[in-house]
Amino acid sequence: MKQNNMLAMILAGGRGSRLHELTNKVAKPAVAYGGKYKIIDFPLSNCANSGIDVVGVLTQYESVLLNSYVAGGGSWGLDARDSGVFVLPPREKADANLNIYRGTADAISQNIDFVDSYDPEYILILSGDHIYKMNYAKMLKYHKDNNADATIAVIEVPIKEASRFGIMNTDTETGQIVEFEEKPEHPKSNLASMGIYIFNWKLLRRMLVADMKNEESSHDFGKDIIPQMLNDGKRLFAYKFKGYWKDVGTIDSLWEANMDLLDQKSGLDLDDRTWKIYTEDIPTFPQYISEDADVKNAYITQGCVVEGEVKNSVLFTSARIGAGAKVYDSVLMPGAVVEPGAVLNRVIVADNVKIGSQAVVGSADSEHIELVAKNVKGVE
């Protein structure tokens, strides 16, 4: 029988305001990354490659472009008969008015009917703003082998950074979680929650129904549901993930995640043909490097035209670099235009933004990465 018994729900959350203008018009999962991708391509491609057919995307902020981006799921092959990607904003029901999601758990609670309509045995909860490649089918096997009630993916972090995460204290032999501490001052372990959960749907459903009525609850997986499960003596297991994983919640971390693509040792191999990351297909010609261009240590995709110098940078679809322009340590989002002679250093240039000729933006020794979200005038 078809193993289609796990449904995935991606928490695409709110606005992602730490990405500033990049999320003015689009929800965070629709932000561009890595030359040709959007952030949500990663969980969606992971789902497709893990044999998951149905994915809900929970968002309440600017769902329109996200909706038209994922609609039908064709880009990830998730458009087969029983497959689909569905954007799920808050909605009016026969017994409920239109209300925002009160927390990560509430977002699922408000869509219990959606989940029920697929009658899954397991539910996989994912975050919409992480870059990583993971086989959820292996995690499910681990979950089943442990006869677990819930399984939480964890990654080892440097112990001194552990207090920034939700930390799992486990029985080192069995992997069973004995304690969960949200951002502990004195962490007892370095196993940080990746915000990736597998639950048995029947159990989670019962807990969500109870949680909805609990006025004390903040309706959050980390703060309410997981502690409650531990309290109830449920079997929770930590699934150790090894590999590249990055949260791209800020301009700096988004830049870093792009720069990691230039580093063969970062562990994020997008060229792996057995685990492709799928994305929207855009009709442009292939990238063109002109007679006088100088391209070194760069990650460049289709539609780009490079006539200047590009070093240590990532160029997204149809970015254009004019003659004599210099682009260093920068990220140019789709359609960004750098006119002749302009100089860029440590910046992210937002979609379709134009840097005028001879303009100088960013600085080689800035502490933070500068986001250039508006056209910059050229120097006469």
Binding site: M1, K2, Q3, A48, S50, G51, A80, R81, A137, T274
Partner: protein, 373 residues
């Protein structure tokens, strides 16, 4: 996906199989079946439901009607990015059909077979209708540690039927001693369902050996030669089984499903049979309609009498017409006052002038595609 270990291969029929009439226009895999389906919908759906998401459909001739039907595989519930349903062509067409073997077709596409990460192959014929969980069969195969597992169906009417089929001769341990053409001399036989499970490695090895042995050798022939070197086991199939290997078996396969219990055995709700929609509207029954014990596809208008028949999509049965023991393919017109019995009427045919076309179910007749009679 970690569970999907088998590559699905849908094979074409050997050269001794021929369905008079219908096969002039398309391959058996593309035959209309039970009004709504094509024969190939059954093996593809079996594979799709068994979590086999890479399916290669081998084609020997007349690809036209299959190519459009199969499309990208979406309607067979296959993820078109991580999996596929792919038509496989064999370019070099030998004049002598004996040379156009399955082995040759597989070898011509060896790159595509070897390139996949799948460890096993499940090979099923594109010309037999049955329901089978290949995932369960694969598990049985792996657990038994056999080299090859084949599927067979025990019948008690091998004297009259299954004339183009092979039989498997089994020992007491369900080991296969040999494959043998059904000679019609024995009532009880284990009909070979032309279905195999084995490691991909072994499959490729056998292909190479077959080629070395003879350029007319088929997969069955080389495996037959190996019955005493390899551990080859038979697994019995239960339930509905209709090999489409000649004109009579095509007719009988359709007719057998007019028994509702039999049909419900084939069409289990947990095991959907996918097909490509034609977007026909529902079927309309007029005041003059009399319909009994029949399957009807959508898009028909029924003004006459239909009894013990299979009526394909978009057929018109005019008032006063009588259709009995018939299989009508798509878009057939039966005119007023026409009485037709025991016929297979091919696509787009119009029966209006001939007021009586009557044959016994034992020796059904055939009306050609696009004919007006």
């Amino acid at each position: 996906m970690i569970m999907a270990r088998a590559l699905g291969i849908i094979s074409f029929s050997e050269s001794h199989i021929w369905v008079d009439g219908l096969e002039d226009y398309r391959s058996i895999a593309a035959f209309s079946f039970l009004g709504r389906y094509r024969v190939i919908d059954f093996p593809i759906s079996n594979m799709s439901n068994s979590d086999i998401d890479r399916i290669q459909v081998y084609i020997r001739r007349r690809p036209q009607s299959l190519v459009g039907h199969i499309g990208t595989g979406r309607h067979f519930n296959i993820n078109s990015k991580s999996g596929y349903v792919k038509m496989m062509f064999t370019d070099s067409q030998e004049e002598n059909d004996y040379y156009n073997t399955d082995v040759k077709a597989y070898l011509a596409n060896l790159e595509h077979i070897e390139n996949t990460s799948n460890t096993h192959v499940v090979i099923a014929p594109g010309y037999m209708v049955y329901r089978q969980d290949f995932d369960a069969l694969l598990k049985t195969h792996i657990e038994s540690e056999a080299d090859i597992t084949v599927l067979y169906h025990s019948v008690d009417d091998a004297k009259e039927n299954y004339q183009s089929c092979y039989c498997v001769n089994l020992n007491r341990q369900k080991g296969v001693d040999s494959f043998e053409r059904n000679n019609g001399k024995v009532k009880n036989r284990n009909i070979f369902m032309d279905t195999y499970v084995m490691k991909k490695e072994l499959f490729v090895e056998l292909l190479r050996e077959a080629k070395k042995t003879s350029s007319m050798y088929t997969l069955r022939m080389i495996i037959n030669d190996k019955c005493h070197d390899l551990d080859i086991r038979g697994v019995a199939h239960r339930g509905f089984f209709a090999p489409i290997t000649d004109f009579k078996s095509y007719y009988d396969g359709n007719m057998a499903l007019l028994d509702l219990k039999t049909a419900q055995n084939l069409f289990d709700t947990s095991w959907p049979i996918y097909t490509r929609t034609s977007d026909s509207c529902p079927t309309q029954y007029f005041d003059t309609a009399i319909v009994r014990k029949s399957f009807l596809a959508n898009g028909c208008t029924i003004g006459g009498t239909v009894e013990n028949s299979v009526v394909g999509r978009d057929c018109v049965i005019k008032p006063g017409a009588v259709v009995k023991n018939c299989v009508l393919l798509t878009n057939v017109l039966i005119g007023e006052g026409v009485h037709i019995e025991g016929q297979v009427v091919d696509k787009n045919a119009k029966v209006t002038k001939m007021k009586e076309l009557i044959a016994e179910p034992d020796t059904p007749g055939y009306v050609k595609r696009n004919d007006t009679v």
